[in-house]
Amino acid sequence: MSVFCPTPTQHIHVPAVAEPQTYDILLMQKRYRFRNLAHLLGAADVSKAGDRIAGLAAADEIEREAARTLLSQQTLQHLYDTPLTDAEGRIDSVMRINYDIDMAIFATLRHMTLGQLKDLMLASKGPRIRELGTALTGVMVAAVTKLLDVHELILLAKRLKHGASAQARTRVGLAGTLSSRLQPNHPTDNLAGISLLTYAGLSMGAGDALLGLNPAIDTVDNISAVLHHLDKLRRETGAPTQICVLSHIKTQMACLQEGAPVEIIFQSLAGTERTLTDEFDVTVELLDQACALMQTHGPLRDTGAENVMYFETGQGSELTYNKHNGLDMATCEALCYGLARRYRPFMVNNVTGFIGPETHLDNFEMTYSCLQDHLMGKLMGLPMGMAPCFTLHSQVTAEGQQMATELLAAAGANFFMDVYLGNDRMLAYFDTSGHDDQTLREIHELEPAPEYLSWAMDKGIFVRDEDGGLERGPNWGKPEQFCASESDYQRLLESVPAAYGFDNAGPRPSNQVARTLRSNQAVAREAIYADLNVKQLTDTLGFRQLITRADSREMHLSNPETGSYLDTHCRLSLSPEFTDVQILVTDGLSAEAVHHNIEQLLPVLQDGLQSRGYHCGQTIVCQYGRVKLAEDIGRSLQSQLVINLIGERPGGDAMASRSLSAYLAYRVADDQRPQAAAFSGNPDIEWEYSVISNIYQKGLPATEAGSVIAEKAIQILTHGAAGNRLESLLKPHAAA
């Protein structure tokens, strides 16, 4: 590995904060004014949910074109001289790192406008475009990208494919290749399940970029165990690739220091320092340390590997945490890339669509952001892979995701994900699959990384036809080839949920497998979009109805806070009832969960509460409610315990999409506050929670759940405690 040292941060020159400047233009007899550069950048982009929530998106297409026209007239020097600041007017560490550019080349460009830069890029070949990128900050890259249309985003990215590769054990990103990160995530990090999903991916020619698992449990012991297991799978199968477990970077550093095979080190990045440090618990200094540690201790240091770091990004995280410094999502994303390039990573993976409708509402918004991100990353010299993905509570669909993937393959993305059947069993979202990766290779005539391909041909996973073209071989899509026996294979099969079969039709899953997958998705999505039958609950079961601040489903899904509070008028209409227990029924993210469970659950729960003579309020139903709604109601009614029966966020399993949770919110009594404060470390603690989840026919059936919740409520009110404090109080009893 060639040793490199990132530029010391104090040696990076950043101009002083400039006086605020407005940007004005007259377009079609109408004057448009943008109050600062951040607003100009925001308005120049297509309208996306996150930028709309932040108040940065243009009101209409004319305003957007006005912004683009203005932006294209700005010089690179102007952008250089206008460093964007955080809420305190400070230039944060991420912005500072973005100024670590090639000043010699910048000097040749600085008088050029962004419009001229765009034209120059379109007239240039890959190496020249790449050279231009070394002289650009993230803000400059975001700005020029906002001037590009879809063809241009794809065309320029395609030209940048040459030279966008990176080398670990395999070289990923060469022209003519499409690689994949095999993501064998399992809800409990079950090693047998991880084996099967890894075997499935390898049998489909996936995993040449990485065997990379997102862990369920982020402890040094667990991460080390999974790393050793992935290492064993890699060695036993002989697949030339590298491994990674995507825990927090501090955990991975501890694992490496204990001798675990941290071949590639991972971290999620953000484009503002506040998001990076407050939310991701990472600083530039820590990333520098990790980079240095990998160079001195990484297992690949003497293998010819040139790149050993792996970053994940995606538009919207800064916005979700409301720590975006007034910048739009694309600009924040480009700032991430400015940070990432400091470490010459092996992979940068973009997971736009992962967060949900609060950042990207639909297929268009998700696809467009992906195309922007891919180009921005490549322009900044990064080995970009793409993970266009979605959650069921957004309006992004499988079809839209597949269209995005085709466009990104055309643009030359280095790699995609391989999540078996696209359904991530741990993170409850939908990504690309090994089937998708192979289909894209066949459509776009691409091959896996050369080292890996040679192994896969030895295994009969791929063969060459008489014209030298690459075809699926006899062992393609057969995970059992890596198992010692039928029983061994069966043992692995029994460890993976939502594996609807391993039958294939060409490069696609068989129709039967596809139908099971898609109908499960459909039922799960329906659960989110079904209306809570409030009338049935009030008329038949005698509930009383209250309303939250979310006045529509769109608001409920895109702004979770609104479902956490009662509508102001509604709250004013309530008066304290001083009950022991108040039951609240709300849809959360699955009205179907309520419809399928409540009638069986409630009578048992009520019988249990009555057996102890508790004073219970009339059951409340609220549409568009969230977990914390219990607190607003509990405060208003002065109830000691609020039991919030709420629909869970559906994953990909049809039955589980009807899954209900019970959040038992205990309003800490005054005489318990010292103990609760001492236990939690929060002197102002007001609420403690116990949770009973997974209430559905195949999980905890409703009739049984009623009893379980009632017993927990009795324990809470008997001991005056909930959550971990209650469990700690109960432990001596259990031992006795």
Binding site: H186, P187, T188, N190, L191, A192, G193, S485, E486, S487, Y489, Q490, R491, L493, E494, S495, V496, P497, Q600, P603, V604, D607, G608, S611, R612, N694, K698, G699, L700, P701, T703, E704, G706, S707, V708, A710, E711, A736
Partner: protein, 478 residues
């Protein structure tokens, strides 16, 4: 032999067979099954396998002292005193179970290994079932549409179990085994003969027992055994002389014997068969001093018995002890009703009867009267269709059962255990106990599969679940 993981649970299996005895200890974790979400033992790792040693006999009886000494030695090696097993089973099987002192010995073993585990003798159904679980449970689930018939052929008996999708449907047992005729290794010079061997010679018309068996006679004996096994595989077991049958495979309550199951083998003879398939050679003549090698060769040569030899069981040798170690208990669900966990374990409870959730008051009264006669406690299986878990039915059943308890003066200290397959244990228990306010000891344990057995053993709780072991599966025991 110290635990390798913080949440480790130890399981123990002991098999004292016609020829050999062995012990295994496994370490497992308790966790949710990834697919069905039920609590289960996960990540089993065998941490101790004793060498197989000859079961000690003295004057046609098991040598109790020698055997207990052997057991102590194994337990010491596996550090079971320091890290005791949570569940498991010890079984005296095959011809050893016919020994007069087998039952006494099983009690002594039980005392030695502790009250958390079952120790029993002469339970051929349990033995067959365990051999299937140890041999081909996973394989049977892999071939989930096809029945699998496992023949566990040991020294004294062939234990049969027919299973589908990993579940045993019915069990059988015949006195067909390698060790009814014992020879000097390397020759066919007879050194011993079991009563069943003597009877077989009589049926074959051999009036004088020769000192050295000719090849022809050995072939006739082995052919008789193979033909008998073929008839069982073909579903014609009625053609076999009753005297060789301990337990018929055809279970009157179970599904009919499938015409063409996959056939797998386990036990000592099974191990020889698969060893030959892997290595292409047999041990020397009567190397083990019995007819095991001859029987294995004849099975491989039989088109009926060898038709699915390419399908390999999970484990052929020592399948019974492996089954006893890993599969001798079922794990309950996590939401149970237990009035007093300190009462556990409850050993050797008779499994009295089956009650449906809509049983009449009179039927429930009869069962409760039966339970009244069991001073140590009694278990009742409660059956309900999945559609029958609605609350009114549960409440009515609870009312009737409580009425029966109130009117029959069931000893207030006698534990009553209800076993259910459906996940409604806590709710049924709460209605039966008036939400924990009735004084009688009561356990309602759910998510336990319905098994044909006369006795159960209720283990100690572990992470909110209870292991239940079933035994007493032979028809004779009834």
């Amino acid at each position: 032999m110290t635990p390798t993981r913080p949440d480790a649970v130890r399981l123990l299996g002991l098999d004292f067979g016609s020829t050999t005895s062995s012990m295994m200890v496994a370490e497992v974790s308790l966790g949710k099954h990834s697919v069905n979400g039920r609590m289960t033992y996960t990540n089993p790792v065998l941490i101790y396998r004793s060498p197989a040693c000859f079961t000690p006999f003295k004057n046609q009886q098991i040598d109790t002292d020698a055997l207990l000494q052997q057991l102590s030695h194994w337990m010491q090696q596996a550090q079971l005193e320091q890290y005791p097993a949570h569940t498991g089973a010890a079984l005296i099987t095959g011809l050893a179970a016919r020994s007069d002192n087998a039952r006494v010995l099983s009690q002594l073993i039980g005392e030695r290994i502790g009250d958390a585990l079952i120790a029993t003798a002469d339970d051929p159904g349990l033995e067959s079932w365990m051999a299937f679980m140890g041999s081909c449970q996973l394989l049977s689930r892999y071939h989930h549409n096809q029945p699998v018939l496992n023949l566990d052929i040991g020294g004294g008996t062939t234990n049969l179990a027919l299973g589908l999708s990993g579940d045993v449907q019915c069990c059988g047992c015949y006195y067909i085994g390698a060790r009814h005729f014992r020879f000097e290794p390397g020759s066919y010079r007879l050194t011993g003969l079991s009563p069943y061997g003597r009877e077989l010679l009589r049926q074959l018309g051999v009036r004088e027992i020769p000192a050295v068996f000719e090849t022809h006679l050995c072939q006739r004996i082995v052919q008789w055994m193979v033909q008998s096994l073929e008839q069982i595989v073909l579903g014609n077991e009625a053609t076999i002389d009753d005297g060789f049958r301990q337990l018929a495979l055809l279970n009157p309550d179970g599904p009919q014997h499938h015409a063409s199951p996959l056939v797998t083998f386990s036990g000592g003879v099974g191990e020889l068969i698969y060893h030959f398939l892997d290595h292409g050679s047999w041990p020397a003549t009567t190397a083990y001093g019995d007819l095991g090698i001859d029987l294995a060769r004849a099975i491989v040569a039989s088109p009926i018995l060898s038709r699915s030899l390419s399908v390999r069981p999970d484990s052929a040798g020592r399948a019974t002890v492996l089954g006893l170690t890993l599969h001798s208990s079922d794990i309950s669900g996590t939401s149970l009703y237990i009035s007093n966990a300190a009462q556990l374990p409850l050993t050797d409870l008779p499994l009295l009867s089956h009650l449906s959730l809509d049983a009449s008051q009179e039927t429930i009264n009869q069962v409760i009267r039966l339970a009244q006669g069991c001073q140590r406690g009694a278990a009742i299986r409660v059956r309900c269709l999945s559609s029958e878990t609605d609350l009114p039915l549960i409440k009515r059943f609870a009312q009737r059962l409580n009425h029966a308890r109130d009117s029959t003066c069931l000893l207030t200290q006698t534990p009553l255990v209800l076993l259910l397959e459906n996940n409604i244990g806590k709710t049924l228990g709460n209605y039966l106990s008036n939400w924990g306010q009735r004084p009688e000891p009561l356990l309602v344990i759910d998510e336990i599969p319905d098994r044909q057995a006369q006795f159960i053993h209720v283990g100690r709780p572990l992470k909110q679940v209870i292991p239940i072991s079933f035994f007493g599966m032979s028809q004779e025991a009834s």
